[in-house]
């Protein structure tokens, strides 16, 4: 809690409809955000129970500087992932961090299971358990609209909710935050579903007096000016992350058609520029972020003969264009927006959805699965079939789609095709076939995301291939991001938030930390994550990499499987030493 020497935790018991608040001084050494969430997860997780058991916790946390500085906008969620069975960690922007801050909670721990479909309301002086039976089955849009009208706090409110995918506990179901942001990865939506939890509405209407206003505002202005006046952030606002399509496609790093190709022949027609020219209608921002990177594309969709149209507004980003575009051979912005909208309404993670369908398409082509199972014929570029298949996954239409809804790794366990199930430690790959750092980075990353250690970014900046450098840089970046995510900044602004800036910001709000302490916090958090992974039975050395990564050339050329495993081994040794160093 800002200016206080404790972390204020709201515990919600959905079985008993009871709450409790604890002011935890001991959690301050984890700073906030992912640090506090990791510690709370470690305390509340049940390694012996299934990820979707009602006794498993959902943790949310905001950081030590949430909302009070520009671009410090994210909330972290932690849970046991139903997709990987191990560490679940996901981030979302929107208004959620602001509302938790101004409702007066640093972290929320949700345990138990409601007797019937429910939604929770959280405000500074109340927590409500509400009937959501009539909302069960509603799409993400519908449930948002209904709660918006029923609950107070408009403008100072965040509504997070699941769609049918979460209700039916697809392993990669997402949680939608304020229409356009998501806890996308690793299946938080399924954990909501397992608790009969359809939505949470949070109202933040407190005011917190600012101490040492002059010092604080000086630092605030410096950061604000760097964010808005310099080129450092302008790309995120201008074309946005879809700017990546063009360079990645040019240099052979754009995963295409289930990574059978590294270049998409229709890359130009789905570039950031193409979206901007044809579909972009507005940009939006998370609360407290002057950048505004959220790109909204408009799609005019004909729903009947006789010129009957509906207009839908869909958020798009690089990863979505990769997963539902190049990876599935879908070649126009309209078709991609159409697929994003279905994923959105069903409440699934767009990245996993695309990558899972990539596997299914190839498995169908290779006759590992039949049309009797898939119901519709799957083929790269067949948008009509994909739209149906996404709904079938969310509703677990038949046995096949029930398996598919558990991810590509599980599906390939059952039907074969492991060598082209494009997952890394059971999490579907991100949109970067850039080289060893991307593959190994996700395999060793604590949650197996490209955001654990930014391997794709390292591939781009590394001039000469050097094994030690890859391993050392991934390790250092993982620890650094643990610290950054304890604040919780948006990682798009990580170049603005260098160590000096972070220290100035924290010091100006009375958090007098040193550079060494920031390093120690990052290490403390990483160690806690590694302890959790171990308790959940994760073994780094048993991770198998799909052959396809080594068949299709990457941006850095053909990759050698042996070298990738060697790098994983080197990394594993490094974390073993890291953990042993603590015990000494």
């Amino acid at each position: 809690m800002i200016y206080e020497k404790y972390i204020r935790v709201l515990y919600i018991d959905m079985t008993e409809n009871k709450i409790r608040i604890e002011n935890r001084a001991d959690l301050c050494e984890y700073l906030g955000g992912v640090g506090v969430a990791t510690k709370l997860l470690e305390e509340n997780i049940k390694p012996e129970l299934d990820p979707l058991h009602e006794d498993q916790p959902i943790i949310f946390a905001i950081g030590a500087a949430s909302t009070v500085f520009p671009v410090v906008t994210k909330t972290v969620a932690m849970f046991r992932s139903p997709l990987t069975g191990e560490l679940g960690e996901s981030y979302a922007g929107g208004r959620m961090a602001m509302t938790l801050f101004l409702a007066g909670y640093d972290a929320v721990v949700i345990l138990g299971k409601a007797k019937r479909p429910s939604y929770i309301t959280i405000s500074r002086n109340d927590v409500g358990f509400k009937d959501a039976r009539a909302l069960w089955g509603a799409t993400s849009d519908e449930v948002g609209r209904i709660i918006r009208e029923r609950e107070p706090g408009g403008g100072k409110r965040s509504i997070i909710r699941i769609g049918p995918g979460g209700e039916n506990m697809s392993s990669f179901a997402s949680v939608c935050v304020d229409t356009y942001r998501h806890f996308g990865r690793l299946g938080l939506g399924a954990v909501f579903g397992s608790k009969n939890l359809k939505a949470i509405s949070i109202v933040g209407d407190r005011s917190v007096p600012i101490k040492n206003f002059k010092d604080y505002f000086k630092v605030y202005q410096e950061i604000y000016n760097r964010v808005t006046d310099t080129e450092i952030m302008s790309k995120y606002h201008d074309v946005g992350t879809p700017i990546n399509i063009e360079p990645l496609n040019a240099v052979g790093g754009l995963p295409t058609k289930n990574l059978r190709q590294n270049v998409f022949e229709h890359g130009e027609s789905i570039s950031g520029e193409a979206f901007a020219q044809k579909n972009l209608v507005r940009k939006m921002a998370c609360t407290g972020c002057p950048v505004g990177c959220i790109h909204i594309g408009q799609l005019r969709r004909e729903f009947d003969k006789g010129h009957e149209y509906e207009v839908i507004s869909v958020g798009y980003d690089y990863e979505l264009i990769f997963a539902l575009g190049s990876f599935l051979g879908v070649k126009t912005p309209n078709d991609i927006l159409d697929l994003i909208d279905v994923v959105e309404q069903m409440g699934l993670d767009a990245m996993s959805t695309g990558v899972v369908l990539g596997w299914a398409t190839e498995a169908f082509m290779k006759k590992l699965i039949t049309e009797e199972q898939t119901i519709v014929p799957l083929a790269f570029g067949n948008v009509a079939s994909y739209k149906k298949a996404i709904e079938y996954m969310a509703y677990k239409e038949n046995d096949f789609y029930s398996v598919l809804a558990q991810g590509a790794d599980k599906a390939s366990d059952v039907y074969g095709g492991k060598e082209f199930a494009m997952t890394l430690a059971k999490n579907e790959m991100a949109g970067y076939h850039t080289g060893y750092a991307a593959v190994v980075g996700a395999a060793v990353g604590a949650r197996h995301s490209h955001l654990c250690n930014g391997g794709y970014s390292l591939d781009q900046s590394m001039k000469e291939f050097n094994k030690e450098k890859i391993v050392d840089t991934l390790f250092a970046e993982e620890k650094e991001r643990c610290m950054l995510n304890s604040l919780v900044i948006c990682l798009f602004a990580r170049k603005v938030y260098d160590r000096k800036t972070i220290l100035a910001a924290l010091n100006s709000i009375g958090n007098n930390l040193t550079d060494e302490e920031l390093t120690a916090i990052g290490e403390r958090i990483y160690r806690a994550k590694l302890r959790i992974k171990k308790a959940l039975g994760f073994d780094q050395m048993s991770v198998k990499l799909p052959k396809r990564f080594f068949e299709t050339p990457s941006m850095s050329g053909q990759l050698d499987e042996k070298i990738a495993y060697e790098l994983i081994g080197m990394y594993n040794k490094k974390i073993e030493e890291f953990m042993a160093a603590e015990n000494r």
Binding site: F101, K156, T179, S207, I210, T287, G288, P290
Partner: protein, 139 residues
């Protein structure tokens, strides 16, 4: 020449709420949305437009000042009013008198939140939705 706030670029609004955080911070030394004199909200959820509710800097007779029984609102040169807190009795008549609902109310302080047309919100608007305009002194 006096200046007044014009919120006539709201179609460009990205909904970052920096204006509100800056107003509450600079004018009220609080991290808050509730203490801001400018309110940005959506009409119909995030798929709708962003709109702002802020003092329009009325000239001639100001309805809020007219309604004030204790002389706490004085005409501000160029438009709008100046709030004299020590004269305010917290009757909330100004709040209902403003037909654009731009007089917000601070429940903690039991006082209205009156826009000073200081321009802090415009300065921290990253997208040119808000601007200051020089106007004649109407007094």
């Amino acid at each position: 020449m006096p200046k007044v706030l014009r919120a006539d670029g709201m179609n460009k609004c990205i909904g970052c709420f920096t204006c509100m955080l800056a107003c509450s911070g600079v004018n009220r030394q609080n991290y808050s949305l509730s203490k801001s004199a400018i309110r940005v909200k959506t009409s119909g959820g995030l798929q709708g437009k962003f709109i702002s509710i802020v003092c329009l800097a009325c000239r001639d007779e100001r309805a809020c000042a007219e309604a004030c029984p204790s002389g706490a609102l004085e005409k501000r040169p160029g438009g709008g009013v100046i709030f004299k807190a020590q004269r305010c009795i917290g009757c909330r008549k100004c709040e209902t008198a403003c037909i654009v609902s731009a007089v917000h109310y601070d429940e903690e302080e039991n006082k209205p939140i009156i826009c000073k047309h200081c321009g802090v919100c415009a300065k921290f608007c990253p997208h040119e939705c808000l601007r200051m305009e020089e106007v004649d002194n109407d007094l």
